[in-house]
């Protein structure tokens, strides 16, 4: 039988045949009524990475060369505290009453813009179709060898904010680049191997995508030549965008 009764410890218990439903010393997790929920459209956009390039010249002899160029991704950390292109500012989604200590976060998202392939891989989205529960508000949405992307919907004061992060690993300078970053050998000829380019920290770039290849004779295929060189113009776009809706139910869980 259902009962509501005072316990010796001054708390009130609600139970059925002695089975506790809840009590004031172990109360239900309470959420405010629907009028207090936050709901709306949600767009979570992650920018493109910072790219450089790598360039291979092959000189098998005989006076002709071939080339292959690659787009590389350099390490970096993006987020609310990042500077310049690495800054991803907070986005305020709404406010909740000051007395609440918990938000139940659920989203319904699809990736409407995915990143370019990384090597042979199409990058999977970790967000399935349907409604996704985000305990604590965190959502890792991409995770491969090279990078992680994460967003969170969290409380900052009485604001509920969307925060985004993306992070590319720094594996150090382990590539066997040609000395002096030059494909020219001591006697003015071409030597085979990789050089880097495109800006600062290019040495740290991770090979991400083959940009161009030119077969022999490429007359010649050195990077610094006007004709015959492989293109190093970036044709990739590793930005991602997730679009959908969010529902936030503010509530209170007894500490």
């Amino acid at each position: 039988m259902g009962r509501m009764y005072p316990k010796p410890n001054k708390h009130i218990q609600f139970d059925q045949n002695g089975q506790r439903i809840w009590s004031s010393d172990g109360p239900p997790v309470n959420y405010l009524p629907e009028a207090d929920w936050l709901r709306g459209p949600l767009t979570v956009a992650f920018p493109d990475f910072v790219k450089r390039n790598a360039y291979y010249v092959g000189n098998p002899g005989g006076g002709s060369t071939f080339c292959m160029s690659l787009i590389t991704i350099i390490p970096g950390e993006w987020g609310p505290s990042g500077a310049g292109v690495y800054n991803l500012p907070d986005i305020i989604l709404g406010t909740v009453p000051a007395d609440t200590n918990h938000i139940d976060v659920r989203v319904n998202l699809s990736r409407t813009k995915g990143p370019s392939n990384y090597m042979a891989f199409a990058i999977p989205s970790l967000i399935p179709a349907g409604e996704n529960h985000l305990p604590g508000g965190s959502c890792q949405c991409e995770a491969i060898a090279l990078w992680r992307r994460l967003f969170e919907i969290v409380r900052v004061g009485n604001n509920v904010v969307l925060r985004r992060y993306q992070s590319v690993i720094n594996a150090g300078d382990g590539m066997n680049w040609l000395s002096n970053n030059s494909d020219q050998n001591d006697v003015g000829g071409v030597r085979s191997g990789y050089t880097y380019g495109g800006g600062t920290n290019a040495r740290l770039g991770h090979m991400a995508s083959i940009r161009d290849r030119k077969t022999r004779p490429a007359s010649p295929a050195r990077k610094d030549r006007a004709s015959g060189a492989c293109s190093t113009q970036d044709n990739t776009n590793y930005a991602s965008t997730f679009t959908g809706t969010f529902t936030i139910r503010p509530g209170y869980i007894k500490p």
Partner: protein
Amino acid sequence: MVADNFFRGWPQHNITAIFQEAPGGGNTRDINSPRNAPAKTPKSHLSRVFWHSSFFQFELVAPVLTKVVTHTALAGKQRWSGIDLNNNLINNVTTKPTVLGAFIESRGDVRVTDIVLMTHNLGYVPLYFIAHAGRVLCNGLNIQSLASGQMRTVSAFATSSVIGIRETAISADVALPAISKTYEVMAFRSPAANAGKAMWSFDGDAMLLGRGIVDSRKEYVRSVLSSESSFDIDLGRTMDIKNGRTRYSSGGIVTTEPDYNGSFAGSPYKAIGV
């Protein structure tokens, strides 16, 4: 010393509540008395309100379902692309080229699988929790991570007919082996008040509160007492990424991927149950 708790109702205002009184006294039967402020404006006195007829609660739709899932293996893979001395453009071949040239190697394969844990067929998308290892599942949680870069993540989802997990498996040049994991699935609803019922009534031997929104025959998500089974729910962020890697902290348990070099210390959490 525990303050007194009170169970009061005002049918004319459609309010029933269990709460600790606010200071200021007044007539206990008057909703407008200062002492009854937690019942009148509960969202301004949440720490004093244990239950209120206006609150939204998670009522269990069906018994907690424990599901053991064998996450199957994913074979390793190697692919080469580039250009060889014979002027051949090589595109994603699985046999390592023997002719000299310039090649890049892609290691591993990717497989995405949606795994149904519960078929509920409710016709609407229910609220739900999926618990794993005593904690509510985070989106993109890494459940398997190996030295060669193989990894497996899971994410929870619900539709109008099923509750499940999306598994993303990534192998390396070597396979990602199979692994077995156990999940607890809970589906919830929040019943609407029935205007034909009293604020406090009986239905057979069951007690009903708030015009039927709470029924003593049902189970609700609530804080647990000692010795009750529970799972942890996080009250703040559960993941951080740094140096291309992730640290997960849920229910006080921290899992850090190699090469993560951040300082995330986790968030508070609370043990809850049904």
